[in-house]
């Protein structure tokens, strides 16, 4: 493109710092012994260790998927570290006991764990490498019977709930990375909203990878009991490193009859440098099961990671259940993303909506992959899919892989797709009205993503928009 847009400079990834803390890590390598060690560190009950071991054996028999439209060097699973925790973090510690160095890290990331200073209306669980360092607003939530804590704590304090729902949406045998996660998962968040309760706060988990050559394998489980409502947000960052780091998470959502779960993600893992060196491999399985009259809504803004492989999905199990997927995925430099969703219609009169906005810049490759499946008994099922791609520059790519499988002839499906290119003319038009190139691009992109941004909780919509501006800087040329 022309020089007017070329002049933009790359802004540094502002979350790329490393916190100097002493860590307790299990040596690199993966074996049954590793799985046992992790489980022992976390003082887990026997049933959970057994589940992990089953998953591990299953994983050994599986092969890494090669169907995603992404390219990367083979991962050496024996070179990874599977557990790393700051020494200062004690199990079940209170917020007052958190190491000031870790508090400072979160302050630097813009996340205050100080309850007084915290944005009102939001509770935070902060995960640092393999452990949770603290969860805010627990007392307030407890008044409403809401459980919001680290996964590790839930295993110790609420084993019956964990045992009942763990793996009920994403079985350990589901796929290669889900099996790996099930074997070695470290920490994550656990949420339980009791019957008929509307969670009074936004719940949010902030994931931070700090240690080098360490994978993060978090596991999140959200259960909304009958008639409950919760809005949950996750954010993620990692230091800049020249080696790739693996992040293989699993998120399971159970939305029982008449419940509603809204899950939003702002993913900003380190994406690698402008030549594609380093960055996070983000291989994630996210799925929810919606029971009768219930609703699960995924909203994601994916700007980070060297490689993204994730398909937040909804199993529309119950009659009249609703599944939604709103996504903005941005790739710049040499980032690659293969992302989308699956909507599995099982119940009658189930309804799903998919709005996907892919933005490709630099040498980035962006693939939308989505499946809409209507089973034989799902009469009256409806799906609306809209899948838009925007290209910035002429070295990038946008790809669309929709899969539609219908086994019931009463289903109604709509699929719309478009591809556009940010033009010199659009930018010039904005400049002629007094906006500079950066402002012009962020405005045009924000307009393109509007339908998705309006689904984000208020507090985060602006942040997401700014994030998008930053990750596209230097994208044109």
């Amino acid at each position: 493109m022309s020089s007017s847009i070329e002049s933009l400079v790359n802004k540094e990834y502002q979350y790329g710092f490393v916190t100097d803390v002493e860590s307790d890590a299990i040596p690199p390598g993966l074996s049954e012994e590793t799985v046992r060690l992790i489980s022992a560190r976390k003082r887990e009950p026997e049933w959970l260790l057994d589940w992990r071991l089953k998953a591990f054996r299953r994983w050994q028999a599986m092969t890494e998927p090669r169907w995603p439209n992404v390219k990367y060097k083979t991962i050496d699973y024996q070179a990874q570290t599977y557990y790393s925790a700051p020494r200062s973090v004690k199990p079940l510690q209170s917020l007052e006991e958190v190491d000031p160095e870790l508090l400072k890290t979160y302050e630097k990331l813009g996340i205050s764990l100080n309850e007084q200073k915290r944005l009102s209306g939001v509770a935070v669980d902060a995960i640092f490498d393999s452990v949770s360092v603290g969860t805010t607003m627990k007392a307030e939530l407890k008044k409403h019977g809401v459980i919001f804590c680290s996964f590790g704590e839930a295993v110790l304090e609420h084993p019956e709930l964990v045992q009942r729902y763990l793996g009920s949406v994403v079985p350990y045998s589901d796929n290669y990375f889900a099996a790996l996660n099930s074997a070695v998962f470290s920490d994550g968040s656990f949420v339980y909203i009791p019957k008929g309760v509307r969670c009074p706060l936004e719940l949010s988990t902030y994931f931070r990878i700090n240690a080098a050559d360490t994978g993060q394998f978090e596991r999140t489980l959200i259960v909304a009991d009958e008639g409950a409502y919760v809005s949950y947000l996750e954010g993620c960052t990692a230091p800049k490193r020249s080696t790739n780091q693996l992040h293989a998470a699993v998120v399971e959502i159970v939305s029982l009859d008449n419940a509603q779960v809204k899950y939003s993600t702002v993913q900003n893992w380190y994406a690698g440098d402008k030549d594609g060196v380093g960055g996070i491999y983000n291989f994630v399985t996210k799925r929810g099961k919606a029971f009768t009259n219930s609703k699960i809504s995924w909203t994601q803004v994916e700007t980070g990671s060297a490689i993204t492989w994730k398909y937040p999905s909804v199993i529309l199990q119950g009659d009249n259940s609703v599944g939604e997927f709103y996504s903005v995925a941005v790739v710049n430099n040499y980032q690659q993303a293969d992302t989308g969703t699956k909507m599995i219609h099982i119940g009658k009169n189930t309804k799903s909506t998919i709005i996907s906005k892919g933005i490709s810049a630099g040498h980035g490759q962006n693939s939308y992959r989505g499946q809409v499946k209507v089973l034989g008994k799902a009469s009256g099922a409806r799906n609306y899919t809209q899948c838009d791609s925007m290209l910035i520059g002429n070295q990038c790519g946008a790809h669309t892989f929709p899969y539609i499988e219908i086994a019931n002839n009463t289903a109604t499906l709509e699929h719309e797709a478009s591809t556009s290119k940010i033009g010199e003319d659009q930018i010039f038009y904005c400049k002629q009205r007094g906006l500079n190139t950066e402002h012009a691009i962020s405005l045009i992109v924000a307009g393109f993503c509007k339908e998705v941004f309006k689904e984000l909780p208020m507090e985060f919509a602006l942040e997401a928009q700014q994030l998008l501006g930053v990750s596209l800087e230097g994208s044109v040329g």
Partner: protein
């Protein structure tokens, strides 16, 4: 206000402007006329700073400063406004939001405070009357799904809000029916002030029935082949451009 001297400009290897000289003083209305492909729109785009054109020679001074040295957004902030021949669509960005961003950039450049949305709403509502548009306009995406006439009116609306010192209307009359033409022209006239100048680029004389120019320049093959008063436009209406082209050809 604007002084163009011996300006030459290319698109790729092709020379479009072949030595244009033009002076515009405060309060004046200049019409640039000429046949298709004569370089009228190129001149407008070059003044506005479109990156697709390469200036190969000459000078342009705007309020005593070297205009060619300024980025397009700086020119806009300094009061130059181009009403586009083909206004660009920006889906998902409301007119109100877009205009406020522009308005604030211009204010910032002048060292003034930004306006808040409520204050700005009053400014917009008042200016909408100039182009006879309803306020539903404000929430619609910039030019997205607009009819040709709406797009042109929106350009004049933006001009009314941004209050430029030098407005360039690039074929604003093309594609307008007679009513829209009248609204657009009246809008331009209402914005006329002794310290503001206007350059009207047009193929036809009819717009000049409404916006009466002080000077008319005829552009042909990248050069101004004749300048005169408003009567020149009428003469062109009657005789067409050919007789001037022949003269230009002979002198070239």
């Amino acid at each position: 206000m604007l002084k163009i001297e011996n300006l030459t400009a290319n698109v790729g290897d092709k020379q479009i402007l072949k030595g244009i000289s033009l002076s515009v003083n405060p309060g004046e209305v200049h019409a640039i006329m000429g046949p298709n492909g004569s370089g009228k729109s190129t001149l407008a785009q070059v003044i506005a700073g479109h990156p697709g054109y390469e200036v190969t020679g000459g000078t342009v001074t705007y309020e005593g400063q070297d205009l060619l040295d300024m980025d397009a957004e700086v020119r806009a902030q300094q009061g130059i406004f181009l009403a586009f021949q083909y206004p660009v669509e920006i889906p998902g960005v409301s007119n109100a939001y877009f205009l406020r961003a522009a308005y604030n950039e211009i204010r910032k450049a002048r060292g003034e405070e930004e306006v808040d949305p409520m204050e700005f709403l009053d400014v917009m509502t008042e200016r909408l009357k100039i182009v006879e548009m309803g306020d539903d306009m404000l929430q619609r995406s910039v030019n997205f799904g607009f009819s040709g006439g709406e797009k042109k009116r929106n350009e004049i609306f933006q001009m009314a809000v941004l209050e430029p010192k030098l407005a360039i209307l690039d074929e604003t009359d093309s594609g307008l029916d007679i009513d829209a033409l009248r609204i657009v022209a009246e809008g331009v006239n209402k914005l006329k002030r002794p310290d503001r100048s206007t350059i009207v680029v047009t193929h036809y004389q009819r717009l000049l029935n409404y916006i009466v120019p002080d000077f008319v320049h005829v552009l042909a093959q990248g050069r101004i082949v004749r300048s005169g008063g408003k009567d020149l436009a009428l003469e062109l209406e009657e005789r067409g451009y050919d007789w001037l082209l022949e003269t230009a050809g002979a002198s070239a």
